[in-house]
Symmetry: C2
Subunit: 326 residues, 2 copies
């Protein structure tokens, strides 16, 4: 069997996760990792060629799908459009508000050069988006709810770290169980931001820092914390390392509704993830398989999870899928 | 807006459910119901033309998608192949073992006549199949589990009714909570049939019937009950009517697994349905929309949920989907 040859652009948590995930898929191989750092200084979790990002063009014939593992804020908007001119790509762009513009730019570049660019792949956007579209389509009369957590939010942790006197911090987003129960009970509640999630912060302060001020400043950060019930725990650096060094996450998508005859239905999808980036990576690899197959069929342009039939994701043949999974 | 014009072939619980579901979708209308009975004797839940099945051919220009609401055992294998020669179709064929042969026959007839036939649509096969393929593809290293219930199994209820001395019966399939918990805990257990589900039977016996013999006969029916821990409750006809007249169902699809780095992931999809046929119908209607759109694009042949990209199901435009659901 000819394996699908992957490249990894960017080697942080997500890039490492892609290497791990590819190792679990016998039809995949990672050809090279590309980095802006000195390749000699990059320690990969499994043996693989490491090259400089500027050399990526030399791999045009050696890589089938490039998986973009940069961040959504600054890396991806630029990288995706540049890279899709040379390769079929998969990325995890997750800045919801900017998705329409990102799609248009990626679509134009991909179509111009005859490539496929799969964007916003992961679990949210990604599997959670799939739950939202399948649930909403399957039951017209109802309401859909998304809850996140319990899990670490990198963005919120960073926001705390920027406060004066904070040495390190970890923020957990926690879904409010009673709100989940109201949805499950078919109440179709209107829930405010504060009623859906709480925020738990574990903060290491610098010696002699004003803890009262730090706590107040955290709780007042607009958008990030001001609209939530926020708890702040000051802990030691050792405790942070010991108990809060993982990157777990997860969440719930629910749809509750009724038939025209008044019968109630509840659909629920949930994830519990020990490692947020490793799970995202595992989904990126499945969509690399889909992109490879779509490209073989002559498809070009930007695609999201909504545009890709599930058959393209599975390593099984279509008749095996019908026999084993339908 | 031009509505999608639906026909309903067969008017039992599923056909009624399709009428209810179409009423919740503003882009749909039901043009006619077709029945083998005397049309004048059919009471529909909402006003609609009722005609004889033999007149179906007269509606070729009036109906975009025909939804087949017959049973899998005898109706569908014949009906689907005949009907797809005249219309695009959607059906809920659910005899797992016969899916490959059914697919081939439907595919040939549909391709020959330029139609699309969506088969095995509903929640299992259907949404549960989608969970199995998305979960399995997203996490190569893991095990997938399907549990059904708590819900009424029509087939098992019928099997009990065939026993001498039984006047009426209702059978519930019940998932074993401790087995679900073992899966959720990441134990990846090997579960026997008996370890996954129990069977609860509510039986109305005829006056003077031998209850001991009936209970023994139920518990010994091969495949249906012999491999399960089965409980038999004898109740009055009134109690059966009062407490067991609904057709609820539901279930769980779970996948538990690990990354190559050893981190654990759990995916879980569950359904709680007050009415099994009405929920199935609601999904049939969503897939009628998909079939309509696929046919417009020139697609022909048999398709399952695996072949249909989610974008085809939603009433939203593609850019609305990306904006609101991604």
């Amino acid at each position: 069997m000819q394996k699908i040859r992957l490249g990894i652009l960017g080697y942080g948590n997500l890039g490492r996760g892609v290497q791990y995930a590819a190792a679990q898929n016998p039809d995949m191989e990672v050809v090279a990792v590309f980095t802006r750092r000195d390749p000699a200084a990059v320690q990969t979790v499994l043996p693989v060629t490491v090259d400089k990002t500027e050399n990526i063009g030399k791999y045009a014939d050696k890589i089938d799908v490039m998986i973009l593992c940069g961040g959504s804020a600054t890396d991806l908007p630029e990288q995706s459009v540049q890279t899709v001119r040379m390769f079929h790509t998969v990325d995890s762009f997750d800045t919801h508000a900017k998705i329409p513009a990102y799609f248009d730019a990626l679509d134009a570049a991909a179509k111009e050069t005859g490539h496929v660019g799969a964007m916003s792949i992961g679990w949210d956007p990604g599997l959670f988006s799939l739950a939202r579209i399948y649930f909403g389509s399957s039951l017209a009369g109802g309401s859909t709810y998304t809850f996140w957590g319990k899990g670490v939010s990198q963005g919120h942790s960073d926001a705390i770290r920027r406060i004066k006197g904070v040495k390190d911090a970890r923020q957990y987003t926690v879904p409010i169980e009673s709100a989940l129960e109201r949805v499950r009970n078919g109440e179709n509640p209107e829930l405010t931001t504060r009623e859906k999630h709480t925020r738990e912060c574990y903060v290491v302060a610098e010696d002699g820092a004003d803890l009262v001020r730090i706590e107040k400043e955290i709780k007042e950060i607009p958008n990030y914390f001001a609209d939530y019930d926020t708890t702040v725990h000051f802990i030691s650096e050792e405790e942070l390392k010991k108990n809060h060094s993982g990157i777990p996450h997860g969440g719930f998508v629910l749809r509750s509704g009724k038939s025209a005859a008044g019968n109630h239905f509840l659909m629920e999808f949930s994830l519990k993830l020990d490692s947020n980036p490793e799970f995202t990576s595992s989904i990126l690899v499945a969509y690399a398989r889909a992109v490879y197959r779509l490209a073989k069929e002559g498809k070009t342009g930007a695609v999201t999870v909504f545009d890709i039939a599930p058959k393209y994701l599975s390593p099984l043949t279509e008749s095996e899928q019908r026999k084993q999974l339908l």
